[in-house]
């Protein structure tokens, strides 16, 4: 009798039947650990300028699933396990989105810096123009404003 499992395993190996491994999460701890890892990545992405609004929403959804699982853990283990698995898959999905978010965030940060540089550049140019041409423009305007004036000999 003891050799029965060994025989089954041997049979499976010889027959080439693939062993199916279910990776379903059965504990809230594993799901929470995945969420923590995903959060660390999200936090890193944010520090690199990424917009993380969507990822935060998704992780909160995963946390909600964990809470729902915990609430029914005693009464319905199977459903609770499904909730944990869903939470884990959301966390994994979030982690997959991170590189793209970082790339987008860095592009946005560069653009923002370029906009500031352009703004300051335009202001500097305006300063130079004001310095060089204020007098000329001012007196030209003054002349245009007073073009109908006539000059009379003083008494």
């Amino acid at each position: 009798m003891k050799s029965a499992p060994l025989l089954i395993l041997l049979f499976l190996l010889v027959s080439g039947t693939p062993l199916v491994v279910f990776a379903a999460s059965t504990s809230d701890g594993a799901a929470l650990s995945s969420i923590q890892n995903a959060f660390a990545q999200v936090s890193l992405a944010e520090s690199k300028g990424a917009n993380i609004t969507l990822q935060v929403q998704e992780l909160n959804q995963a946390l909600q699933l964990v809470s729902q699982g915990e609430a029914i853990q005693q009464s319905n283990v199977t459903l609770a396990s499904q909730y944990y698995s869903q939470a884990e898959s959301i966390a994994a999905q979030v982690q997959q989105q991170i590189p793209q978010s970082i790339a987008q965030g860095q592009a946005a940060a560069t653009l923002s810096l370029q906009e500031l540089s352009a703004f300051l550049g335009v202001l500097a140019l305006a300063g130079v123009l004001v310095y060089l041409f204020t007098g000329r423009v001012l007196w030209r305007l003054w002349l245009r404003q007073h073009r109908d004036w006539t000059v009379k000999r003083g008494e």
Partner: protein, 161 residues
């Protein structure tokens, strides 16, 4: 001369605009005084009308408010613990008491959370100290650390006759 005065005013305006633009850029990337918020509101979403007497095992509703002004995304845990007159809230580990419930929330900077929470106290007792502790996830240590921020409610729990 009037020409120099006008030139001076225009250059000052340009300088001011440059400073405002640069300051706006700088301050949009920094938070001067980072802080989180924790609040427990009564059943009417106000600071008040808190339950003082509840029946053991009977549900009652409060509102949990959490705000993030830390300057970056945060992962918060709010632990609800049950203590008594002698319980002390420690600055490092919070109150050494059993955890009744845990609420987890991730908030972006300047984001707030306000949701109803339903609690139920299992055992009768007088002057039960219900403490809500705010814990923050630390990505460096991969652990939740206690911020020494808590709210508390004192309740009497009577047994069901």
């Amino acid at each position: 001369m009037i020409e120099d005065q006008i030139k001076g005013v225009l250059l000052a305006v340009i300088l001011l605009l440059g400073l405002i633009g640069a300051a706006q850029y700088y301050y949009s990337h920094t938070t001067s005084e980072p802080f989180p918020e924790l609040g427990i509101l009564g059943p009417n979403q106000k600071i008040g009308d808190y339950p003082t007497n509840v029946l053991a095992g009977q549900n009652f509703t409060l509102y949990l408010y959490v705000g993030n002004h830390e300057g970056h995304v945060e992962y918060f845990n709010v632990l609800v613990k049950l203590g008594n007159n002698d319980s002390v809230v420690n600055g490092t580990n919070g109150m050494n008491a059993p955890v009744l419930a845990t609420y987890r929330i991730i908030l972006e900077n300047n984001q707030t959370y306000l949701e109803p929470i339903t609690l139920s106290l299992p055992n009768p007792g007088q002057n039960i100290r219900m403490v809500f502790e705010l814990w923050t996830y630390n990505t460096s240590t991969n652990t939740f650390t206690y911020d020494y921020i808590y709210n508390q409610l004192w309740v009497n729990v009577t047994g069901v006759v």
